[in-house]
Assembly symmetry: C2
Homo-oligomer: 286 residues x 2
């Protein structure tokens, strides 16, 4: 599987170890929601770098430094696999975190790109994300490489749009406000015009706005990048025979944040879809 290369740093891992998930903030909890539903036997440790969120408007060097610190934190907690549930970090820093990790690291770009290529019929694929994700051209490059490596001969056209206001709308819980609809119509108009049939939600916040996005683009298949990453993680765990076979602590997510604001818990539970339990504040990078 192209998204996972066994690392020379690999150490012995056990199935009872947790899956580590990190994101710049709360967005990655939409991926944890899928993880808990799809793999209910697995323990999950989540890290949200809420003191330094958002990554989407920061430079590649800064995002790499922050992402490495997040992975180091998860590795210290003996996770057996890491999901980078942040499109910006996956786009700008995946290789740099894979280099320092002793366990497999799954980003969100490759899994979503692979699914989009499988599902599109017209070959017109749309991508929405933060400005940094879109400017990095990570999805565009990955789709191009996949076409070449898998010998796909038909024409594939990729259309990418940055939707920076979607993140604050999702966090504020304005999932289907008339203002959200106006913003969505403006952002998605070029994709509608391009007649895409498949759209990658290239930011883990965007699944919260699925309804408004689907209403603006009614005949388009939406691909949830976090969900696709969870499917790939599942495949890797089975391939390595380290998936949790026994019924574990379903719906208990061990959550760490770098800044625990008053708003965090309520936003987090909305994203996760069930009560979070405890979130502990930790310090990174010093």
């Amino acid at each position: 599987m192209s998204v996972f290369s066994p690392s020379p740093l690999s150490t012995f891992v056990e199935e009872s170890q947790a899956i580590g998930v990190f994101d710049s903030g709360v967005g990655g909890l939409t991926a944890v929601r899928k993880l808990v539903n799809m793999l209910p036997n697995e323990r999950v440790i989540y890290l949200g770098d809420t003191a330094r969120v958002p990554y989407g408007n920061k430079t590649a060097a800064t995002v790499s430094t922050y992402s490495q610190e997040c992975v180091q934190f998860l590795l210290q907690r003996k996770v057996k696999l890491v999901i980078v549930a942040c499109n910006t970090a996956s786009a700008l820093a995946l290789e740099s975190v894979q280099q320092i990790s002793s366990v497999p690291v799954v980003g969100v770009i490759a899994p979503a790109a692979e699914t989009a290529l499988k599902q599109t019929r017209s070959g017109n694929i749309g991508i929405i994300g933060t400005r940094a994700t879109v400017q990095s051209a990570a999805y565009q490059t990955k789709i191009k490489h996949l076409c070449a490596s898998e010998g796909i001969e038909r024409e594939v056209r990729v259309f990418a749009e940055a939707c920076p206001l979607f993140v604050p709308f999702a966090e504020e819980g304005w999932h289907y406000h008339p203002a959200t609809r106006l913003v969505a119509e403006e952002y998605l108009a070029p994709l509608k015009k391009a007649q895409i049939d498949t759209l990658i939600l290239g930011c883990t916040h965007y699944p919260m706005l699925t309804d408004v996005i689907q209403d603006v683009l009614p005949n388009v298949q939406l691909i949830n990048s976090g969900e696709e990453a969870v499917s790939v993680a599942d495949a890797i765990l089975h391939e390595m025979s380290i998936h949790a076979a026994q019924r574990g602590m379903n719906r208990i997510v061990e959550c760490y944040v770098t800044d625990k604001s008053t708003a965090f818990m309520s936003v987090a539970e909305r994203f996760l879809g069930f009560p979070l339990g405890i979130a502990e504040e930790v310090r990174l990078g010093k």
Copy 2:
């Protein structure tokens, strides 16, 4: 003047030294815009903590740590006065930065609160800001103290609303989009109902949305907190006889940021109202 207590750390300062201004991001540049227009002889050093923006949804402890690091950076550059052009930092961390500063530190809360009290006729004052600023009740407390200390006997009622989506709209340059108008109508409805006659723009981003706010609240006087802080800084410099009397380097702002993203320069120049020149990336906190 209540906003300035001479510090025991005070050292000898000269009029040719710069005024230091910091904010969590670009917002404080609306204050610098006023500073350059009102005090064209002064040199200005601006620090935007763009790697850790926004402060508005972080805890008081985190905001204090970050604000102290910002002030230390400006003090190393020998500024003669510091303006905390960030409402969140002024609300949560002003005392903690005043304690470590050898020069006067002016926040935005007290100057705006004083002006609002002077200007209101009905006694109904509105405040809009980030969630952290509103929850801190810093404006509400300051207005109450001012009423008590200045023996104001008529009734003053304060109505505060958090407007978290205003910051991303201002940064995206959607100053007068139909979606911005819808968001403004929703946020400002309780203040309209409360029949305020004076509104403190308690976030340095909000002056960018002055037109839409004024249209939703047509008969309300808007108070720009950054502008009021500049007036107080001017008074302190004159009081201490360290204002720059000679024509200086007008419209040259020495700008430092903790993360220089591609979007920063264009957003910064829109907020500042003229070209920025050079912005240098610096590291804080390590």
